[in-house]
Subunit: 359 residues, 4 copies
């Protein structure tokens, strides 16, 4: 306590604020905007550090063999914080884009072959979220990393991911079978009723031409086929095999159950958690999209400073690398409130709090 802490020392500002070394400033023609370029990227990396730190905590919580409800609340809260961090990181592109392509050209060649693809922390974020190497669009990117970074990535591959702990947590959900209740059977019957009703509505519709009716019935058939894969574990296994699905059958069912019955007290937080995970996935994609557009604007379709293939590659990552895509696509398999089969009383009572004495 003898020492008097000073703002500058607490924040290590002497270190932080002297860590900008624009390459072009060591030359004849210092480029005005290189400082902006460096600082914006340093801020990205600081945000990534914070996001990794929070993500780590979320994975630790959700990876427990039993996650009490209030810890689901904590995990949810930290996921929302990560979403905010990405919100800031995304907004930051507007600032970076005040640098024009020509401004960038004034120092771009000096950075060769350094490249944003070498951001270890962003790769770690992808890994810890659960991006699989086989799903990765650019598989050879690790060649541009140095030994030390490759080792760190390799170690991260041994760790649980957000995807894996959420999947296990879902698989443990006890309500899919309970006494004689089988969620699966009631859901399947409800789905059949829904399609039957839709078909009848089309058939009886007074304003549709026969051709339109034909088209609509065909559409219903396609939707029905998509549902069918759910009801046949072997077909679902095939989808997993072909990597058209990533989430296990049981985890998918549990997620669907949570979504359908989210209004029950004990499912509220689990539902919000799934929603936050989906939004985090979208935030990461949005960051990627803004990054792709920025790269396109800065360097056109030429190769990036690190020999990367630029915009076309980046846009692919936006679209294809949704990690929790199976969760967000569950929206296709929800039923309108009026068609959701009611739960049997013995399950219902489990989903309520025994004591409710909140203020």
């Amino acid at each position: 306590m003898a020492e008097r802490l000073y703002y500058r020392d607490y924040l290590s500002l002497d270190t932080i604020l002297s860590a900008q070394h624009p390459r072009s400033w060591q030359q004849d023609n210092p480029a005005h905007d290189e400082l902006l370029f460096i600082i914006v990227h340093q801020v990205y990396e600081l945000w990534f550090k914070q996001a990794l730190y929070e993500l780590d905590t979320v994975i630790r919580i959700m990876g427990k063999s039993y996650v009490p409800e209030h810890e689901v609340g904590t995990a949810l809260f930290l996921l929302e914080r990560i979403n905010r961090i990405f919100g800031l990181a995304i907004a930051q592109f507007d600032l970076l884009e005040t640098m024009t392509p020509l401004d960038f050209l004034a120092f771009r060649d000096l950075l060769h072959p350094a490249s944003g693809f070498q951001s270890l922390q962003f790769r770690l974020l992808e890994l810890r979220l659960g991006l699989d190497d086989t799903d990765r669009v650019l598989r050879g990117y690790e060649h541009s990393l140095d030994e030390r970074d490759r080792i760190e990535l390799q170690q991260a591959r041994q760790q649980p991911t957000l995807f894996s702990v959420v999947q296990t947590w879902l698989e443990r959900m006890p309500f899919l079978e309970f006494g004689t209740y089988r969620f699966w059977d009631t859901y399947r019957a409800a789905v059949a009723r829904m399609f039957e009703r839709e078909r009848r509505a089309v058939a009886e519709h007074p304003a549709l031409t026969p051709e339109e009716k034909q088209q609509k019935l065909h559409q219903i058939q396609l939707n029905e086929a998509a549902f069918e894969s759910f009801f046949h574990p072997d077909r679902y296994a095939e989808l997993l095999q072909k990597r058209q699905r990533r989430l296990s059958h049981r985890a998918t069912l549990a997620a669907l159950f949570i979504m359908l019955y989210r209004d029950y007290p004990l499912l509220q937080l689990p539902y919000r958690l799934l929603d936050a995970v989906i939004r985090l996935d979208h935030q990461v994609s949005l960051w990627r999209y803004r990054h792709a557009v920025m790269v396109n604007r800065m360097i056109g379709r030429k190769v990036g400073t690190g020999g990367s293939s630029g915009y076309d590659y980046l846009v692919q990552t936006v679209v294809q690398q949704h990690i929790f895509h199976d969760l967000s696509s569950l929206a296709s398999y929800l039923l309108p409130p009026s068609e959701i089969p009611p739960l049997p009383p013995e399950v219902e009572s489990q989903l309520r709090f025994a004591v409710e004495v909140a203020p």
Copy 2:
């Protein structure tokens, strides 16, 4: 079902998109920016309608004589939505400010004496949040409203407010006394220990001059005095009387209890709710502040189009009209985690869920 719903009709676009009538366009010199001015204000009013609608639901939920935990969750969720609505309404000022003072002058006189002070919905929002007429900075504003709006405001005054329902909900909290446990006594003892420790730390500090010590001890004394008002219901009543406090003594204690013990499962949502209410209060103030700055930029310190006294008045509303100020100022009365007295087992067990079977 014979009718085929069309996007334009569903959204009443023929009505919405033909409801802009720039005054200056009926004249020789149409002002380019008057359309922007009208549309930005119409969008504000649409957001206010949505915010009032959500606020109404929150008040209905929290006004129940018993609020089950999952409904606290719903209320919290809607409060966060209102916060997002205000976030957009605040961001909108950046667009409005692309109109310069001179652009505004081109049609400003034509609007006389209409004025933003006449926004009924904003007044309703203030009222429903709980702004008291006696706390209002500009009391005479109702004179500028027409009969119909005055009547509607008068009716709104009869309704419960967010402030009143949150206060009642807090006052009902059962844990302040429980068996032989008295929250108040343990908190008071903890506060005394904290000040004692602080005083000792100052006295024993090797690096402080006698003068600095004197000053610090004086500061501790002031802080202690502030706490004292809490321990004496009569002194607290005096503060209420002088309107230095608005929230009842018991509700204040309950809020403090929730803040201190928010990590217990059953207090998590109540804690988040109080935090959301505080942030909503701040969002409204931020909207006011941006509005004040915009008015200052547009018309300087001259009177507004409705004869309002402009910037100076508006800035006062920002600072003085915090409705939930008593909640946000509770931050002053929290204790560091290490000094918070532990709860007796009989209270602790009440604050846990009896059954915890979440997935």
Copy 3:
């Protein structure tokens, strides 16, 4: 002047605020979130009206046979305003996404077959920006519009677009040939020098393996080939034919000239204008991307309320429908500042202001 204008009347609030008619509220089970859904979409349409209005003015200005510099300034300023409008419209998705898929399901079927694809104003925006029907991903969308909207679209097709007026304005630029100066020849020589230098740097690089050198030389060759299409009007014509390019050869050259020499006083505003146009294109794409993600989250990969094919289609529009792609890809053809050939004095003097007496 006898009438006293009232805020509510000026803004037509009685009309605006009573134009929300949630379908589900006419039924047994009113869906809480349908009001949010309606208001968010009405606000989108108000923003689109404002954006169309500003875009119209920009097209009028830039479509003049002679555009004085300060009017370029006005057009630039209005483009920046449109960019801000889209910024708000994009941020609005965060609010809409507080509605979950299940919330939406509670009223989604009631909206059938209305669909966001039927937003006339968004189609008009695309058209007025210059989206060509042949570039449009979803060509058959007009079938879902009613007669009245189709007629309005048809009329809009007769009008000049931002693309067409910017192209004509660029083609008129007088500096590409001036006296004996030919921009084209000097640029081509500079490009040749640049590639020569790059090749030499690779050849002499001490740290590269022969294989790496081979690879880099190949890359240089590819980049050089891309430049070549610029130097041969017939090859360029082929690209236009194949719709790999949209902007005329001469306009492309003029844009490149402006980008390279943007530091000359008379080219500053034109440069900023091109940059604003590129950013507007990106903002529209970003809106589309957020829309696609939202649709995916709300309804999965099922067909939309209007029979649209949903996410996959929408993502294609994001990537493929950049209207000013040729402008943004010019970044690939810029030269580093040190390699830009100096202008001859007779051109330089034209690009300065004759009188510079600003304060």
Copy 4:
């Protein structure tokens, strides 16, 4: 060229990412949120470094004895960039506020007596913008700085400020007197006509009661008196003396001239520059306001970690420390377009470009 630049080295990431040293992590009870607290503040300081860097360039440009128009454009562009930086810094509070007061208490005492008041860069920003020590609300703040920081502040006091260079640049404007033209006289006559017209309109108004007329005439009289101070250099000097005004009489007139005649080509950029300066002033205030609200939420009205008096003080700085207040208050002294006196041809011709050949 032998060295191969690596992303991590270019950005000094080993330095940046290891510069977080949470105090509580060296203790028994590491506080989860201290990392967030540190990183958010480090990012603030990085933004401040960038803002100072851009501000320095703006001051250098505008401080030249002659500022060619296109350099006004550059200064304007950099001011807009600073505005964006502050936009991000302001948005960052939303992230910081995911830390609650109780989270903060878990490590707050460990930071004593460090305080945000010790941010040297923020003080430098204030100084370089032109905040005068005599206008500063908290004058004694320097006592909390260490010797090194105090010296740096002292040196900064010798440098030109944005306020001083803009003032000098305005004072140099040549058009206030030109041949026989005296801006001042024509403006004064126009103002007189405006008030005369307003008085007549009130007098002849059929719907106003005598009392209302009285009140309105009184208001006009007050406004007129405010204008009068402009017309009497000695009265204006008195205002400067009493520090009710900061900007010199001549600079104020020049700014008014630019605002009134901003549609002339040569005044467009100067006008946009003044507007950007006013918005920068407001952005800084907005940052202060968000900071004040955050401090209030975190620590209530207790003293801050550095012994600062907290919220009340901070709110005062928001309202009172507008540096360019004289510029923004000029909005009060503008005239509606129809009342602005036309310029004599000899001035008009000076305000147009001699050659206008832009594309």
